[in-house]
């Protein structure tokens, strides 16, 4: 026996360890030349929640080269301590080399929980870490909780299209590992007065069998949807690529960008990197205008963190109206050109109020 675990019953390929010996909540962060990825800092929000419920603390983990300079950033955003592996051997990212470094640290420190932001790299590396430790992993969590009795972490995720939530436990193994998509959790408040310990660690880097030979940064002409403050998003009801030009014009006037639902992406009206929803991206604009989008759970999953949701849909029965702040039952082909016209006039006059009042009188 190892604590509550009966070693005889456990798969012999797994280490038999007492779960109660594992302590602390880790956030394994991703950093590049621009600093720590915002999605990694967002993971400190659920990490703090879990740590509080477990009566434990939060440790950031940073692996790379020239990354020590960013460690303090994790403390400011809520980590109590940061373990840094800063070594030229990690100048080039390879999922198994980086993953193996985290595995070595986890074997030494025995954290109870490991959270990883589900960026593309995070989704690539986290299952390797979990599997190499022979423990469980839950992808794309939307919430976390702790079972009061057993103290198991509940990793909560929407399986099968976001209508249901599954509460997943890892009762016999530690660490308990989960990922969450960028923008599913808010960034914790930054506190410049926070201080914490920075622990420099050495690990034995494994020999790389995957080598980066070339890279090319894709220049961005506009704000990516996950960073936009205003999004005008189109669905099946937009009816074609021409409709998206109208959406684009409104988005520009509002200082925003255009996005789309899975149906719009599948139809080829808008590229996949602009897809909002469970199989696309989660976004957190101040204003999200859904045009011709029915409001399927998979789509609405992606706008949980949106400040205000407005909907324009010709179908009064569309479920979107039950999930929006402001809805108008109308044809967007009539509404959006009118909105564009009114906004243009308002900009000329310097007042929307006046323009709306004058329009109402006529």
């Amino acid at each position: 026996m190892a604590g509550k675990v009966d070693c005889e019953k456990l798969c012999p390929l797994w280490p038999c360890e007492d779960p109660s010996e594992f302590k602390g909540v880790w956030v394994v962060a991703e950093a590049d030349e621009n600093g720590i990825h915002e999605a990694s800092l967002q993971m400190l929000t659920p990490a703090r929640k879990i740590a509080e419920k477990l009566g434990s603390d939060v440790t950031g983990v940073l692996v790379g080269y020239n990354v020590k300079q960013y460690a303090d950033e994790m403390i400011k955003y809520g980590a109590d301590r940061v373990i840094v592996v800063d070594d030229p051997a990690f100048e080039m990212y390879a999922p198994d080399v980086y993953g193996d470094a985290v595995v070595q640290l986890a074997k030494k420190y025995k954290p109870e929980v490991i959270l990883v932001a589900a960026t593309m790299r995070g989704r690539e590396m986290a299952p390797y870490i979990a599997n190499t430790l022979r423990t469980g992993i839950t992808a794309d969590c939307t919430d976390f909780d702790v079972d009061e009795k057993t103290k198991d972490v509940l990793l909560i995720r929407p399986p099968f299209g976001a209508i249901m939530l599954a509460y997943i436990k890892t009762p016999l193994r530690r660490p308990q590992i989960g990922t969450a998509r960028p923008n599913v959790f808010p960034l914790p408040p930054r506190d410049d007065s926070r201080t914490g310990e920075i622990v420099e660690e050495k690990v034995e880097p494994r020999k790389p069998r995957v080598r980066l030979v070339k890279r090319q940064i894709i220049p961005r002409s506009e704000v990516p949807i996950e960073k936009a403050e205003v999004i005008v998003s189109g669905g099946k009801g937009v009816g074609g690529p021409e409709g998206f030009k109208l959406l684009e014009e409104l988005a520009k006037l509002l200082g925003g960008v255009v996005a789309g639902s899975r149906k719009a992406v599948d139809a080829g009206w808008i590229p996949h990197e602009k897809q909002v929803g469970q199989t696309g991206k989660s976004v957190k604009p101040i204003l999200y205008i859904a045009v011709g989008i029915s409001g399927a759970a998979q789509h609405m999953f992606g706008v949980r963190e949106a400040g205000v949701v407005a909907a324009i849909n010709i179908d009064p029965e569309a479920p979107i109206f039950k999930q929006a702040d402001y809805g108008v039952v109308a044809d967007y082909r009539e509404v959006i050109p009118a909105m564009i016209e009114l906004l243009k006039k308002a900009r000329e006059k310097g007042s929307l109020e006046e323009v709306l009042a004058a329009t109402k009188q006529t």
Binding site: D96, R123, G136, F160, T170, P316
Partner: protein
């Protein structure tokens, strides 16, 4: 090259419904398909075989009904297939599933010959975890890389892949044997050839392995071999929204109403104000 490509036979998620009383999935009458994100992986494997020779073997761990899915990819040009099926594998999470797949690949190496490359789709439409590629690589201790769009041999035993991340294109060399997972929609899958499908039925190139053939410890497979368990399932809580709905006289009326609401709104008001000033 001998390439193994992983396939999942999944219920077509768009047709899946929930029983709100029991909180379980209603799978009856729901048609299954080969996971659409696996098809670009099949295509890439076939292109590599067409260019460099060798064979492509599809592998799946599934109930016997998945035979139909294997027939589909055999119809696309896969050379042979392995169906790993046993009640003992039921209830597996991704760790237990990847263990069986990795052991399947080992058995292919033992019975058929050395495997150079294992190819997976990026994720499945039914659970979209994207775990399996990395987990199989971990069990086999092979190198791996995700989000592959193109692949070619750089030299003997080394594959050059092009992959795309959020903001960059990267070219990696990966030592073989290795694992790659192919990005969603990266390649257009070739159609199923009817003649091939008929021939496939006659030649029956599907090998069926149960746990009798694999001989895996029952503590490492299925439910027992899964460190994660689903403790409960609930409905997703609603995000609180105002839900004000307006039925306008016409488009202009709708535009006025909506802009008025947004301008008055505590959060959206700032955005509208900024738009009017033209300051971004």
């Amino acid at each position: 090259m001998r390439i193994v490509v992983g396939i999942k036979w999944v219920p077509n998620t768009q047709a899946v419904r929930f029983d709100p009383k029991t909180g379980t999935l209603i799978r009856e009458g729901v048609p299954s398909v080969v996971n659409p994100h696996d098809l670009p992986a099949v295509e890439l494997a076939l292109q590599l075989r067409d260019r460099y020779g060798g064979e492509v073997i599809a592998i799946t761990m599934a109930p016997p009904s998945a035979m139909k899915g294997l027939e589909h990819v055999l119809g696309m040009g896969i050379d042979r297939a392995v169906l790993i099926t046993d009640r003992a594998f039921a209830g597996a999470d991704t760790l237990a599933t990847s263990y069986v797949l990795a052991e399947g690949i080992k058995k292919i190496e033992k019975d058929i010959g050395k495997v150079d490359l294992a190819v997976f789709g990026q994720e499945t439409i039914d659970s979209s975890t994207a775990h399996i590629g990395a987990q199989v690589a971990s069990w086999l201790d092979w190198p791996y890389i995700y989000y592959v769009h193109k692949a070619e041999l750089a030299r003997e035993g080394v594959l050059l892949v092009e992959r795309r991340l959020e903001d960059r294109v990267e070219w990696y060399e990966i030592e073989l044997p290795g694992v790659i997972s192919v990005a969603m929609k990266a390649l257009k899958p070739r159609p199923v050839s009817l003649i091939r499908k008929i021939r496939v039925k006659q030649e029956n190139p599907v090998i069926v392995w149960t746990n009798k053939e694999l001989g895996l410890d029952t503590r490492c497979i299925g439910l027992k071999g899964s460190p994660t368990i689903v403790s409960k399932v609930t409905f997703t809580p609603e995000v609180p929204r105002k839900k004000v709905v307006y039925k306008p006289r016409d488009g202009l009326d709708a535009a006025v109403w909506l802009l008025e609401q947004l301008a008055k709104d505590e959060k959206a008001g700032k955005v509208i104000e900024r738009a009017v000033r033209g300051e971004f």
